[in-house]
């Protein structure tokens, strides 16, 4: 094997280098572990950031990698959140079972919706996803008897993890739980995006006509990734339910879908980490700006968004990688 590695030609090692775990990635996850020790009083907020990041990762799979635009991704987050909530409120208290069922339910919903999206352009997709989101919101809103409507779902009781670790008031268990689940799903997504399947997806985003002409079954691929993204969004929703022991109807709101799009674009699409970075920046900014001015904080967010789209293409991570390249270029010049 080592012999093989040594002999690997330049072009193979080029691809290998792209797929390798970078030190910045390891640092990122270690930082998240560090948060547990450094900010013990903000773990509830930190969990929310992570959940939002995971949710944004699921959007990145379809928007960043496969190129499907959507304004209704909260539908799957909400389905997951309500599934986990309803289960916990009706006697199934085990968190892992809740995650599993929530993921599967959201996945099935995603699979069914995907057939509406496999054909048609961006505008069609925006309208259809928007429609699905609004529709689901009203269904949940009107089924007050089961969902609590605008008052939210009460009586969500989550059991202990493995029957040992209970969810505490400071969100310590919750943070560790969310971190581990997010990391596992991240590794799952990462390896999928670096596989031949992920390459095929990116090529669909780049050019559908050509993707079809080299034999990629486009509709099948899109149906597939849309369902998988729905599973992950559903699990993210279930995590929110389980860590807050409550489901508010805002999990399904249009605002959540729109915010998610902002988060991913601020962070950077098709970078794997854009969702997490965007979630950190967005939620911290939201927290900070709304403290400065509770009524008009979105004013500043608007400015930030316009400036970023105009001058920072590829989001924060896109800008960051350009900086790194610039620095490398400069250093190479110094050396030569």
């Amino acid at each position: 094997m080592s012999d093989n590695l040594a002999k690997a030609s330049r072009h193979v090692s080029f691809l290998r280098g792209r797929e390798r775990w970078k030190s910045a990635e390891i640092a990122f996850w270690l930082t998240l572990v560090g948060v547990y020790f450094v900010f013990p009083s903000s773990l509830v907020f930190a969990s929310q950031i992570l959940i939002t990041g995971l949710f944004a990762l699921s959007l990145d799979m379809i928007l960043g990698y496969a190129g499907i635009v959507t304004l209704g991704h909260a539908a799957f987050f909400g389905i997951g959140a309500y599934t986990a909530g309803l289960m916990a409120a009706h006697g199934w208290h085990d968190p892992f079972l809740g995650l599993l069922v929530a993921g599967v339910t959201a996945g099935i919903a995603g699979y069914l919706c995907s057939f509406l999206l496999s054909k048609g352009g961006d505008l069609t997709r925006l309208m259809i996803t928007l429609g699905i989101g609004l529709l689901l919101y009203e269904v949940v809103n009107s089924a007050t008897k089961y969902t609590g409507g605008v008052d939210g779902l009460q009586g969500v009781e989550i059991g202990k993890l493995f029957g040992v670790f209970g969810f505490d008031l400071y969100g310590k268990t919750a943070y560790i739980y969310v971190l581990i689940i997010s990391f596992l799903l991240f590794v799952f997504t990462r390896s999928m995006m670096n596989s031949p399947y992920g390459l095929a997806l990116r090529s669909i985003r780049e050019n559908q006509t050509r993707a079809l002409a080299i034999g990629i079954p486009i509709s099948a691929c899109l149906t597939n990734i849309y369902s998988i993204a729905a599973v992950i969004a559903g699990i993210a929703g279930a995590l929110l339910t389980q860590t807050t022991q409550f489901v508010g109807i805002d999990v399904l709101s249009f605002q959540r879908s729109a915010d998610l799009l902002l988060i991913l674009i601020i962070g950077g699409t098709a970078t794997m980490y854009g969702g997490f970075v965007g979630a950190v920046v967005f939620l911290l900014a939201q927290n900070w700006l709304s403290n400065l001015n509770p009524q008009y904080w979105q004013f500043f967010l608007g400015i930030l968004l316009i400036v970023m789209t105009l001058y920072l293409r590829g989001g924060i991570l896109g800008g960051f990688s350009r900086l790194v390249n610039l620095f490398r270029h400069w250093r190479n010049k110094e050396h030569s």
Partner: protein, 252 residues
């Protein structure tokens, strides 16, 4: 008939407009067949019916003895019918190496189980990557295979068009104006590549550049108003008075 690619009584109409009129095209294995005709003769529409982008109104398309009229476009590629595009249709943000590797992975996907296809890194398919690199090298793209496609010079992008089509290991290759837009000085590279394509690949060439057509093709079909005017060897075509009339107008 042991034609590798064949159409039988192919018709295509958009409303009242007939764009393909009873076309019976037949490609022998190993053929170098050119399809020419004035603008609007329906050449591209015909290609689109062969590749499955358009469904013919009636008639059938056959590949290597099997009817493929109702088979979806991507499945036709797997069966060995591949094409290039008149206008560069590439993956701008992928490197040529990734693009060609992708095409080969798609071709070979039935050999990998779902786990390997979905979760194993692309770089573990070193045999595939080596094959992709060899193909790029053959098309003089080795130097440029690690930069993003959109940064390549136009002529290089034309070559990549060809590389992507060849990566699918086609039995039949449809070349839709491969030299379109390439300045005269740079087209030599392209012609050379065309001439070195293996004989096992049957080629249908659509081209406006008559120089290229007459150098390359052993059979030529002239298409006019969606209808096959004449099919024959290059010398038969040159001497055919009807062809002269179409291209030069009456009175010549």
């Amino acid at each position: 008939m042991n034609a590798i690619l064949q159409t039988r009584d192919l018709w295509k109409a958009f409303g009242g407009l007939i764009v393909t009129k009873n076309v019976n095209l037949s490609l022998a294995p190993g053929a170098r067949h050119a399809l020419i005709g004035p603008n609007g003769a329906g050449k591209t529409t015909l290609i689109n019916q062969l590749t499955g982008v358009l469904r013919p109104s009636s008639g059938s398309v056959w590949l290597d003895g099997e009817e493929i009229t109702r088979i979806p476009a991507n499945e036709r590629v797997c069966r060995g019918l591949s094409r290039t595009f008149q206008i560069n249709t590439l993956f701008p943000q992928l490197t040529p190496l990734e693009a060609v590797t992708n095409a080969i992975c798609v071709r070979e996907r039935t050999r990998l189980n779902i786990l390997k296809r979905r979760f194993f890194r692309v770089s573990r398919r070193s045999a595939v990557i080596d094959e992709a690199y060899a193909l790029l090298e053959q098309l003089n793209l080795a130097q440029d295979c690690l930069v993003e496609t959109h940064t390549l010079a136009y002529g290089k992008q034309r070559l990549l068009e060809m590389a992507l089509a060849l990566a699918t290991k086609p039995k039949v290759l449809l070349l839709d104006e491969p030299a379109a837009g390439v300045p005269e000085g740079e087209s030599d590279e392209l012609f050379e590549v065309l001439n070195t394509l293996p004989k096992e690949i049957s080629i249908l060439l659509i081209e406006h550049d008559m120089n290229l057509v007459f150098n390359f093709a052993d059979r030529i079909t002239v298409l006019v108003n969606g209808e096959e005017l004449v099919t024959g060897t290059p010398s038969e075509i040159v001497e055919d008075p009807r062809v002269r009339e179409v291209y030069l107008g009456k009175g010549h």
